[in-house]
Amino acid sequence: MSPAKKPPAKKQTAASAEFLLRLYVAGHTPKSLTAFENLKTICEEHLEGRYRLEVVDLLENPSLARGHQILALPALVRQLPPPVKKIIGDFSNVERVLVGLDLVPVTAGRRA
């Protein structure tokens, strides 16, 4: 996944990053690419300048999967702000992604 190959840099407002996100993928599959594109779009739209996104390719670092109990892929882990949240899928359902990231007011129905 070509864009993902610059992991620590993506939209980095350095230390002031409010949202610390980590995307786990396994290889440069179409699914990974779609997920990355979708995620990027959502982040740019809703979190502009407030987030930092890391991409971890498990094929390169398989041992990292253990830490966040990664099972399904692609998976996004919101490390900051707490609590840790986990979202899986290709992020095509924007609504659910926003719910998962706690970016939607509770009234929008969290546990749909």
Binding site: Y24, A26, K31, T34, N38, L58, L59, P62, S63, A65, R66, Q69, I70, L71, A72, L73, P74, A75, V84, K85, K86, I87, I88, G89, D90, F91, S92, N93, R96, V97, V99, G100
Partner: protein, 585 residues
């Protein structure tokens, strides 16, 4: 099946021409039941209800593989954390931490919590594959256990996707060439709740924990095993402080070795009843009888005799504690305690109801495997009936006897029969028994005595007589019973008869002596008469001879006188001669 011990890990699995290559599980009894273990390079499904030992089965498979065959293994746990797992099996003596440190085991705990996961479209379980692959590669594992895969169904909502991923997982495992064990929770009317069995085509094992009459029994069954012969029965198994052990049915074939060697029963008189030799080695002996007839004593005599021969004996006491057995047998002059101290005699006491019948037999099986005794005593067998129904008891005893026969272990069991007990109803096991001794009460003349007889003894001539069975502080002895006019006599009646007989014999000998004396007198009389008569005869002969001599003299004298006369008248004599000639013509 012989398995090539050098296992090459090639990516694809294929059945060797001789059949399925197998990986020994190291679980006692299981490898026998399956003819070698689990199919190498394939996936085995172990399913069963909660608490039936699925996780333990998996763990033991890995630990044994690491310990005995140095085959590293991966345990993928969905239900318990690494620490929990390690603690749970530590009580079985599995040093999980040590194996992990030696890179023979990897435990990976995978937490699946639906609440923490938001699904936002298409996904797959590639993460699981990555983790599994990483774990396998990190130690070069050949064995994999996934416990319990079905947890995934509670963590993800897209069942169609899960099923597709599971299918992929199973084929991936196969491709990876690892021998895998997948556990699955038992479902309603199906082997597993989510139908995992449809993905596993090679080997399916079902574990079960049934409670019947408040006694629980664990059973194992091989539902299928493609490409391999296997026992199809339900095999009881036991989980104890040493782990899993399955009781294999060795009676698939009836080809146990036989021995012509005899072992003394410990009672010389009983040996004499059995052609003077005793039981056959490796035969099964039943001592049956009503309460207090000395069944245990007979069994203990045999135990003592075996110890005396320097053999090991395993004594299962099902009604008395070990100390009680030792004390009681002390009263008949057997010092079992010193055999125990020497390690030749092991008394295992257990209440029959402590666990199910199968468990007893698995426990016995285990003890036999460990101690390798030459003789086994079960006292009394009949109390096992309280732990199961008679039909089950029989089928289990068949297995026990078969097993002991295969091992050439002489087995003496006692069975309590009720007063009215018919010979053929004793647990229905008489047909399994080689030598059957029956001890019974004989009540006569206000006394209770014991009689022993041999109902049967296969393959040897044996006495068909009832013997009186005497238990004293000197041990057990048998004496021939007396047959009186009113039938069999025992006890004081026998002694009475015996003294009577002795008196009779005495009287008889006296009579003979008297008659002999009489005869002697007669002979002497006759001899005297004969002497007298002979004397008379001699005298007569003497006289006769004297007489003869006298007449001879007279003749001689007369002849000489005639001669002198003839010399004077010769012609006269010629004339006489002519006359005699005339008479002749």
């Amino acid at each position: 099946m012989a398995l090539p011990s050098k296992n090459r890990r090639s990516p694809a699995t294929r059945a060797a021409p001789a059949g399925v290559d197998k990986v020994p599980s190291g679980i006692a009894g299981f490898d026998q039941v399956t003819g070698g273990g689990l199919p190498r390079g394939r996936t085995t499904l172990v399913c069963g209800g909660a608490g039936c030992g699925k996780t333990l089965f998996g763990m033991e498979f890995l630990v044994n593989g690491a310990r005995m065959h140095r085959e590293p293994g991966v345990f993928l746990a969905f239900e318990e954390t690494e620490a929990d797992l390690a603690n749970n099996v530590a009580s079985l003596g599995f040093d999980v931490a040590g194996l992990v440190a030696r890179k023979l085991l990897v435990i990976d705990y995978i937490k699946v919590d639906r609440r923490e996961i938001e699904e936002t479209g298409e996904y797959d379980l590639e993460g699981l594959f990555v983790r599994l692959d990483h774990a396998i590669t990190s130690i070069g594992a050949t064995r994999v256990v996934i416990d319990t895969l079905e947890t995934l169904f509670t963590g993800f909502s897209n069942e169609a996707l899960l099923r597709a991923e599971l299918r992929r997982l199973f084929s991936w495992l196969k491709l990876r060439g690892v021998t895998a064990v997948i556990t699955g929770e038992k479902g309603e009317g199906t082997l597993t709740r989510y139908g995992l069995e449809e993905y596993v085509s090679d080997c399916v094992i079902s574990l079960d924990n049934r409670v019947r009459d408040q006694v629980s029994t664990r059973r194992l069954r091989i539902v299928k095993y493609r490409g391999s012969a296997h026992g199809t029965n339900e095999y009881p198994f036991l989980i104890d402080e040493h782990g899993f052990s399955v009781l294999p049915v060795t009676s698939l074939r009836l080809d146990c070795p036989v021995s012509n060697q005899r072992v003394s029963t410990g009672v010389a008189a009983l040996d004499r009843m059995l052609e003077g030799g005793g039981y056959y080695r490796g035969s099964s002996v039943l001592v049956s009888g009503t309460a207090g007839t000395g069944k245990s004593s007979l069994a203990a005599m045999f135990a003592d005799a075996s110890c005396r021969r320097g053999q090991r004996v395993l004594y299962f006491a099902l009604e008395e504690s070990s100390a009680q057995v030792v004390r009681n047998m002390g009263s008949i002059g057997l010092d079992l305690a010193h055999w125990q101290a020497r390690g030749q005699l092991t008394i295992q006491a257990a209440r029959p109801t402590v666990f199910g019948l199968e468990m007893h037999l698995v426990a016995m099986h285990k003890a036999v495997e460990q101690l390798r005794p030459s003789a086994v005593i079960v006292d009394p067998l009949s109390s096992l009936v309280t732990a199961g129904d008679p039909h089950e008891v029989k089928s289990m005893l068949v297995r026990l006897f078969d097993y002991l026969k295969m091992k050439q272990i002489t087995c003496v069991v006692t069975a309590l029969t009720n007063e009215s007990g018919h010979e053929n109803t004793e647990l229905g096991i008489s047909s399994l028994i080689d030598t059957w001794l029956r001890v019974r009460d004989i009540e006569t003349a206000g006394e209770r005595t014991r009689g022993l007889y041999l109902v049967k003894s296969r393959g040897m001539g044996h006495s068909n007589q009832v013997r009186e069975f005497i238990i004293s502080s000197a041990g057990v002895d048998l004496v021939p019973v007396a047959i009186g006019p009113s039938g069999v006599l025992t006890g004081s009646a026998r002694r009475h008869l015996e003294s009577e007989q002795r008196a009779e014999v005495l009287a008889g000998t006296r009579e003979v002596a008297r008659r002999q004396r009489q005869l002697e007198g007669k002979r002497r009389l006759v001899e005297q008469q004969v002497a007298v008569m002979r004397d008379a005869l001699l005298a007569e002969e003497e006289e006769m001879r004297a007489l003869a001599a006298e007449s001879g003299e007279r003749d001689a004298r007369r002849a000489s006188a005639a001669a002198s006369r003839n010399a004077k008248r010769k012609p006269e004599r010629r004339h006489e001669a002519a006359m005699s000639k005339e008479v002749r013509s």
